[in-house]
Homo-oligomer: 223 residues x 2
């Protein structure tokens, strides 16, 4: 049995959970808080980061969300999420890097810092300038997703791919933390409603991080 | 013919150049300065980042250094750089993410900011606190590479892989910018001497960024 070390608002863990559910890989969740710098967890992953996926009976430890996704792309035939020609696959990976790199750095990481970590660790109030910057950046990212969807059925082309899971994972954390203003982004909102209604997404939207509650629209498919 | 959009001190471009040279893929370099936000370059890559690899006659545009490396892993049989079983391949990708993520973020990005961008853009003096932090972090990364090399011939196992190229690319930029103190890191220094002496590395070490000169030991195999 696979065990996934993760916490509810980690966007990289969310991408892996969506991938495992889409491919039908049975797994159990183990909750960790990487900011607590637990010794046992540091022994498992020297980077001290979630997600980590472990199969104890086989001695397999997988670290880094993209490495984990590529592992299942290679070992399972079911539901390919990096499909097509080498060029198509490069486009999927470009977009995964865009969402996990840029969107995380500009939008999700500052929201997590201001609205989650400060609450859990220092009990300091959020910095409103940082919050405003993150929300402006979020708007730019929604514009880019609107643009992609003007030309394509899914973010990387005609089929659902890891790019959709990466984008939805980052967006869902930003949305939980109240960082997304959906007005004026009909294409992206429609695509996200479809993502939300997939069975893979339901358990994720039902989860809560204690003390931090999402806005009312967060888990509604119709928002 | 492939054209690589890059600049001499971009560590991600360096990783791609090492990969192309190891696999024997002919290519020409096109120099760009992403911080100048050139419109033509933004049309090519909406992220405005180097590296971008283009094959004009075939209409192929590859963006993101890992996506580029995976493309050639898939399309060429020669000199695999992500070799072995699915678990071995996951370990290579974990380390590439460690060097391109953590080491870049903690060491190389601040050195580039303080010693390159400030010089080229704002002409402000470097912030010595930031420089000291980056050099302390560099020392921690050398410790981790020493530790890997205590157990392995190359960073990810018995064979040269993309993890070695990623680490050497990041390290070489940090070294160019005077951010690496090699004392007390014999394992890593020996491994890096071997990397430096590979034909793939030579053209890269010969290149200079105007106005910023590397320390005397920078391009010496014996340092
Ligand atoms: N490249 C890694 C990034 C993982 C990551 O940054 N995880 C965050 C949580 S979302 C973390 O554990 N940060 C360490 C901390 O908060 O101390 C991946 O894709 O898995
Ligand atoms: N994930 C990208 C990162 C590329 C990257 O960050 N490139 C830097 C140069 S080393 C860049 O172009 N930054 C934009 C800027 O300096 O404005 C990759 O691996 O290719």
């Amino acid at each position: 049995m696979w065990h996934l070390y993760q916490f509810p608002l980690c966007p990289f863990s969310r991408k892996v959970r969506l991938m495992l559910a889409e491919k039908g890989v049975a797994h159990e969740l183990r909750r960790v808080s990487p900011w607590l710098q637990d010794d046992d967890f540091a022994d498992l992953n020297p980077a001290g980061e979630t997600p980590v996926l472990v199969e104890e009976s086989k001695g397999v430890v997988l670290i880094d969300s993209l490495a984990i996704c590529e592992y299942f792309e290679e070992t399972l035939d079911k539901a390919p999420l990096i499909p097509g020609t080498a060029s198509n696959r490069a486009e999927v990976r470009r977009l995964v890097s865009w969402f996990d790199g840029r969107m995380h750095h500009e939008v999700v990481a500052p929201l997590m810092e201001e609205r989650m970590k400060k609450r859990l660790i220092s009990r300091a109030p959020p910095d409103t300038t940082e919050l405003r910057k993150a929300m402006t950046a979020a708007n730019g990212h929604l514009d880019y997703i609107d643009y992609l969807l003007d030309h394509r059925r899914w973010l990387a082309g005609p089929a659902l791919t890891l790019a959709d899971l990466a984008a939805a994972a980052q967006l869902s954390v930003a949305d939980y933390l109240g960082g997304v203003d959906w007005r004026g982004h009909k294409q992206t909102a429609d695509w996200y409603a479809v993502m939300k209604s997939r069975p893979a997404f339901r358990p994720l939207l039902a989860e809560r991080m204690e003390v931090i509650q999402p806005p009312a629209h967060y888990d509604k498919v119709d928002f």
